[in-house]
Every structure is written in structure tokens, then in C-alpha cells.
């Protein structure tokens, strides 16, 4: 068993195994640090920057930084909150996120975080990019309007040989997630369901299955995002 270390988050003493990523260590101590790209049990990517925290006055992504003994982590402060809010706003303006008709509404992590950080009107102008829907796969539909390129699907959905079924196509502005044509038939029903579930937004939809959860029983209807950890305190 590896060594237990002690560190603080916003002044509170926490414990974790040495070598743990800050975000995971925080989770174990019932401390919520927001994230859109991180997924428990899957190697981190540091893609979304939502989990940014301050250590010795420096900003680091907590999902890719390992905790060390005596580390003093700042996570809740007005500056960081505004930084996170600005990241959310960028994500909103950069895609086409139309919550009212989106089946992920109420279970969407992006929407839930926007509520948490009280986002109203973004400070940046909307891009209104022209994006399409990829509906060629028999099990799922990909709506590029909603994809925030978090790569969760790439990292989490693999075939039996450990190969990623989802992949990036193009670069920069034109980057898109697509299903690797060579592995398309490896996307089983279970994997498709899992992909829909882990996608933080409504970018992956199961065909013919929209709006299954009634309003009131969606993931964040009862409990706002983060509260599952924060209520443990």
C-alpha cells in the first residue's frame, strides 16, 4: 500500500494516497472540483480546464496534477470561480447549445455547471458555427453542434482490444468527433448506452430514444451538480 499524505483544500485538511491526482483526491475527501472532461477511472486529459485550481499562486489543472504531501490547494475563490464561468461561457458561444430542445437538458453537465456558476449572458459573442449532425452510425447520432471536444468518448469507449471506437477528425476549429469506420461495428448497444451516458453534453444520442427521463427525474433535477459530494460534509 502506498503512502498516505496530508494536504489542504481551501484550508481544510485532507488525506490521500501519494501520487493521486488532485481532482481524484478531492473527490475522496468529499470536495467537489468542477470538471467536464474528467471521468473517474479513465486516464485524465486536462482538456476542458474547468478543474483549474491554484497552488502557490499558480494555476494548474487538478485532473492532471498529482497531489504531494503538505500541498496547499485553493479551489474556491472568486477569481477561480470567474475563470471557470468564463470557460463555460466560451464553450457556450463556441458551439450551438440550444437547451430547450436538447434531450440531455436536465442531465447535461455543461448546463448544470452553467447553473452552478450562475451563467446568464456570456461575455463573449456567439460564434453560431455551422455544424452538422452525423447520423450514419446505426446506433447513435452525433450532434457536432453540442460537442465540447472533451474526448471522454475517445478515452472511455473501447473495443475488446482496447482500441478507441471514437476518434478525432480534422484539426483546430474543424475538429470533430467521429466513429472510426473500421471499428463502427464494435459499438455494441451497451457501449452506445455508455457513450450517451458519459458524454457530458447531448452530443451523442441513442437513436430513437430521446427524452426518456421525465422532467423531475433527470440527473440534476433533484440535486445540483457537485452536491453529491458537498452534501457528504
Amino acid at each position: 500500500m502506498s503512502k498516505q499524505i496530508t494536504f489542504t483544500i481551501d484550508g481544510e485538511t485532507c488525506k490521500a494516497e501519494e501520487g493521486t491526482y488532485i481532482l481524484d483526491a478531492a473527490r475522496k475527501n468529499n470536495k467537489y472540483i468542477p470538471t467536464l472532461c474528467n471521468l473517474e477511472g479513465i486516464p485524465p486529459k486536462g482538456a476542458c480546464r474547468m478543474c483549474t485550481v491554484k497552488i502557490n499562486g499558480k494555476l494548474v489543472t487538478s485532473c492532471t496534477t498529482r497531489v504531494t504531501d503538505g500541498m496547499q490547494i485553493e479551489s474556491e475563490d472568486p477569481g477561480l470561480d470567474d475563470l471557470r464561468k468564463s470557460i463555460l461561457e466560451m464553450l457556450f458561444v463556441e458551439g450551438n447549445h440550444l437547451c430547450p430542445s436538447c434531450e440531455k437538458s436536465g442531465s447535461c453537465e455543461l448546463q448544470a455547471l452553467a447553473y452552478r456558476y450562475r451563467m446568464t449572458v456570456p461575455r463573449y459573442p456567439f460564434f453560431f458555427p455551422r455544424r452538422n449532425i452525423d447520423s450514419t452510425h446505426p446506433k447513435i447520432i452525433k450532434d457536432h453542434n453540442r460537442c465540447i471536444l472533451c474526448k471522454r468518448c475517445i478515452r472511455a469507449i473501447k473495443d475488446q482490444n482496447g482500441k478507441s471506437i471514437f476518434a478525432f477528425l480534422n484539426r483546430g476549429h474543424h475538429t470533430k468527433i467521429y466513429v472510426d469506420p473500421d471499428l463502427a461495428d464494435k459499438l455494441t448497444d451497451e457501449l452506445a448506452d455508455r457513450a450517451v451516458e458519459i458524454c457530458p453534453v447531448g452530443a451523442i444520442m441513442k437513436r430513437g430514444d430521446g427524452f426518456k427521463d421525465p422532467i423531475g427525474e433527470r440527473k440534476y433535477d433533484k440535486q445540483p451538480i457537485g452536491s453529491e459530494l458537498e452534501q457528504q460534509l
Partner: protein, 493 residues
């Protein structure tokens, strides 16, 4: 000198429209038009979207009657998932949807009567516009209870919608092939035995009292009510398989002004072979007509009056009794008197209240079998009787589940010609020989339009509201007078 009058905006109408009246050089009305000046295409907007989004997406085209669009679209997508054309759902699926629909009918009809119509009837069409509104009704010692009842009936209807659709407006309850929730016992008991007045029995009593109130008013003002705006027309609606009033599903029936069936209970899947739409250059709102009669003679009315003219009976006892009185008044023939639409609307509100109670007592609402799916189709057509009349939703999808084509014919569009007829009639009566537009004249035109409860945001598929004004033009198309006012009733020049 010939003149033309335009009326705008029509107050207490959902959305806005515009009326133009043209006078010849002797001051006689030669032409009147009720038109729509704004257009946002929802049919284009949904193209490319997955079909299961349609019920949630398309309802956004209107904040007034979203439930009707939600259910109309859901019925269309039922077909796409192979759940049949309106009669293939599980009992729970169908009955939950019916409950949602009757909740919507009750709240919409209550709103229309108590908030929008009762000021005209109870306080008088020529009453001071400053008091001729629901606040005026609430303040008058004779009618203050009525205003409260209006608010409560609306609330009850909205709570039914919330319990079935998930939200009071823009819910997600109806999904392809069924519904995403059942009604809990707590919800049921609240609606059945809830604290007075918010329970089904009180709603039925109040709705019945509202019918009686109209009857009473009618007795005292027969000439005005019967003669206000009256013209022969065809009438179209869905009717149940057995000819019953059914607002959720049925066959398409049309009768002419004498009651002859001119569309004999046809399957609405064939609507395109029975109904066509004419485009006229001066308005965005199309003019639908029955193809077998042609565009001159084939126009028809939809809505409460039309429905009571097409159906054979009402399947709930107290509404049926009211229906019998209604039918007796015209000797069993269709009723072509516009202001009787209010009467018909209240009978329907009673029917909705009784239907809600019947449904609530049905244990199928607690069933767990909510969704059906069968063989996937590429096309779906869903019709429903919305509060304002027959609503058509038609979608075609590609093999990738994306909507390729959407066609909507909304209730208000179905009434387009009828509203134009009504405006023309009132204009000839009120505007002949006039050079300026007075407030009572404006209101007279509005009262005629309002009988149809038009939803102009729906009819133009507009996202926002549009202003409406009355303009009086001479034969050289010169503006002689123009008056407009906002929805708060404030008049502007």
C-alpha cells in the same frame, strides 16, 4: 374619395395581426383583409434534426398552445416508430396524453373566456377600454367571483399539464410511441380530492356554471350575440370513430352550412388529397380549402363551433346536456353564428373537465407500460384538435432518422378565410361612410376576430409577437386614417 382602413393591433388576441379596410369614393367598404406581416419558418428550422426531437422542438413555435404542438408532433412521430396512427399506444400512453390534452383545453378555454371574452360580454363591447378587461371584471361586484374562477380553472389545467408533461409550458412528456411518465397516486388524489377549489368536481361545476352564464347573457342579448357576425360556412374537425366529440384522435369530418357531410369521416392520413392551401400575396398566412369543393367554396371553419357542428354527440353527461341545448337552438343544423363560438368553447371546457375526472379515475394512468414501438416508417402525420381547432403535423424522415420535410397547418391558418369573412362583415357594418377610426369601431372588429381565439404567433410560426394596426385607405391607396395599439390596450395614433 375611396378609403382603406387598417386595424392594429388586436388586443387580447394571442400575438398580433393587421386589418386593412378599403373604401370606395362613396365611402363604402370594398375590401377588407386580415393579414399577417411576419414570418419565421419552423418547417425549415427542424430540417436535419432527429425526429424524436420534433415534439419538444416544434412546440417552441408557440408559448400559448405548446401542448397541442407537442402532442400533434408526438402523434406524427408515433407513426415513424411504428406505433400506429393514433390508436396504437398502450392504455397508459394514450390516456396520459389525453389527460395532458384535456388539461390544456381546460386552461386555454378558461383563459379565453374569463380573461379575453368576458370583459366584452359582461362589461359591454363599447365599455370604456380602461375598464374593459379582466381587472374590470374582477372589480365589478357582480362578477368578481368569476374572475377568480377563471384564474383557478387555468391553474388547475396547468397543473394537469405539469403532472403529465413535466412542466407547465414546454414539457417533454409525450415521446415517440407513448409517454415518459405515469401519474402517481399522490398526483391523482390531489386532482380528484384536492383542497377546494382545485379539484375535478369543482372544475366541472364551474364550467357548467360558465355555460349557464353564457346562456343567461344570450337570453338577454340575443340580437347582438346571434347577429354580430354570422355567415354560412363549412366546418371541419376530427370526430371520434362513433361520431363523438373527441379532441385527441379521430377521423376527419366536414359539414357544409346546412349540415351535409362534405368530408365523410376520412382517414386523416390522406389529408393531402382532401385539403390544399392557397397562397395570397398580401399575407403570409395560407388559405386552406377542401379540394373537392375548390378554393372558392371549399374554405371552412375549425375550432369549438366547428367541432360542435361536426360531431354527433358528446360522450360526457353534463356536456352532452349542454350540447343538446346548443343543437336545439339551431334545430339540429350547423350553427353559423360566430359569437356562439364562445358558447361552444364553454361546452368544450365542461367536456374537458368531465373528461379529466373520468381519466383520473382510470387506473391505467398508474400503468407502467408506457411506450410501444414497431416497424420504423419514413413518414408520419399527426392531427389533433387543439383549443383553436384542427392542427396538422406532417414529417418525412430519411433513413438516418433526420427530418427532411415538415408541414404544419395550424388551427388559426385553418380559420384564415373565416376570420377574413368576419372582419369583412363587421367592417361593412361599422366602417361604411366613416373617415376616422373610433375606439368602439376598432373593438368591434377585434371582437369578431377574437371569437376565433386566433393564435397569430402560431399562424405565422413566429417566434416573437407582431404588432397589428387598422388602416383606412382610399381607392388611391392613400392612408386616410391609421390607429394602432399595443396589447395593453393603449391606443396610439
Amino acid at each position: 374619395m375611396a378609403q382603406k382602413v387598417t386595424i392594429s393591433p388586436v388586443t387580447r388576441v394571442e400575438g398580433h395581426g393587421k386589418v386593412t379596410i378599403k373604401l370606395d369614393d362613396e365611402g363604402h367598404v370594398t375590401q377588407s383583409r386580415f393579414h399577417i406581416v411576419e414570418f419565421r419558418g419552423f418547417e425549415r428550422f427542424v430540417q436535419g434534426r432527429p425526429y424524436w426531437e420534433a415534439p419538444v422542438l416544434v412546440q417552441r413555435l408557440c408559448g400559448i398552445c405548446p401542448v397541442s404542438h407537442h402532442l400533434g408532433a408526438a402523434k406524427a412521430v408515433d407513426m415513424i416508430v411504428g406505433a400506429g396512427a393514433g390508436d396504437g399506444l398502450t392504455p397508459t400512453g394514450e390516456k396520459m396524453r389525453r389527460l395532458m390534452h384535456y388539461g390544456q383545453i381546460l386552461q386555454s378555454h378558461a383563459l379565453h373566456f374569463f380573461h379575453l371574452t368576458s370583459p366584452d360580454l359582461l362589461l359591454g363591447i363599447d365599455a370604456d377600454p380602461a375598464v374593459r378587461n379582466v381587472i374590470g371584471v374582477a372589480r365589478s361586484p357582480d362578477y368578481k367571483d368569476l374572475a377568480v374562477q377563471g384564474v383557478m380553472m387555468r391553474k388547475f389545467g396547468q397543473e394537469i399539464i405539469e403532472a403529465t408533461a413535466g412542466k407547465k409550458i414546454h414539457g417533454t412528456g409525450a415521446i415517440p410511441g407513448g409517454i415518459n411518465k405515469s401519474l402517481s397516486l399522490e398526483e391523482r388524489d390531489r386532482f380528484l380530492k384536492g383542497k377546494d377549489p382545485l379539484n375535478a368536481d369543482t372544475m366541472i361545476d364551474w364550467a357548467e356554471a360558465a355555460v349557464a352564464l353564457f346562456r343567461d347573457y344570450h337570453q338577454k342579448h340575443r340580437e347582438m350575440i346571434d347577429g354580430y357576425s354570422q355567415f354560412p360556412s363549412n366546418h371541419l374537425s376530427l370526430v371520434g370513430r362513433d361520431g363523438a366529440l373527441d379532441l385527441y384522435h379521430g377521423k376527419l369530418r366536414a359539414v357544409d352550412a346546412d349540415g351535409k357531410k362534405i368530408l365523410n369521416d376520412v382517414n386523416y392520413q390522406d389529408y393531402l388529397s382532401h385539403i390544399a392551401e392557397e397562397v395570397r400575396s398580401w399575407t403570409y398566412m395560407k388559405f386552406p380549402f377542401l379540394t373537392n369543393l375548390g378554393n372558392e367554396k371549399g374554405w371552412y371553419r375549425v375550432g369549438p363551433l366547428a367541432r360542435l357542428n361536426t360531431c354527433d354527440f358528446i360522450p360526457t353527461p353534463r356536456a352532452q346536456k349542454a350540447f343538446e341545448e346548443f343543437k336545439a337552438y339551431t334545430g339540429g343544423k350547423p350553427d353559423n353564428m360566430c359569437m356562439h363560438t364562445h358558447w361552444a368553447r364553454l361546452i368544450e371546457a365542461l367536456f374537458a373537465a368531465e373528461s379529466i375526472k373520468e381519466l383520473l379515475e382510470d387506473p391505467d394512468l398508474q400503468g407502467e407500460d408506457r411506450v410501444v414501438k414497431g416497424t420504423r416508417q419514413n413518414e408520419g402525420i399527426g392531427l389533433i384538435e387543439a383549443p383553436r381547432g384542427t392542427l396538422f403535423h406532417h414529417y418525412r424522415v430519411n433513413e438516418f432518422d433526420q427530418i427532411q420535410m415538415a408541414n404544419l397547418i395550424v388551427s388559426t391558418t385553418n380559420n384564415n378565410q373565416a376570420m377574413n369573412e368576419a372582419v369583412g362583415q363587421v367592417a361593412r357594418r361599422e366602417m361604411d361612410g366613416q373617415k376616422t377610426i373610433t375606439e368602439p369601431m376598432m373593438n368591434a372588429v377585434e371582437v369578431a376576430i377574437r371569437a376565433y381565439d386566433p393564435c397569430l404567433s402560431c399562424a405565422t410560426h413566429a417566434l416573437g409577437k407582431m404588432p397589428l394596426e387598422i388602416t383606412l385607405l382610399n381607392h388611391n391607396e392613400e392612408v386616410v386614417d391609421r390607429k394602432s395599439r399595443h396589447t395593453n390596450g393603449v391606443q396610439q395614433n
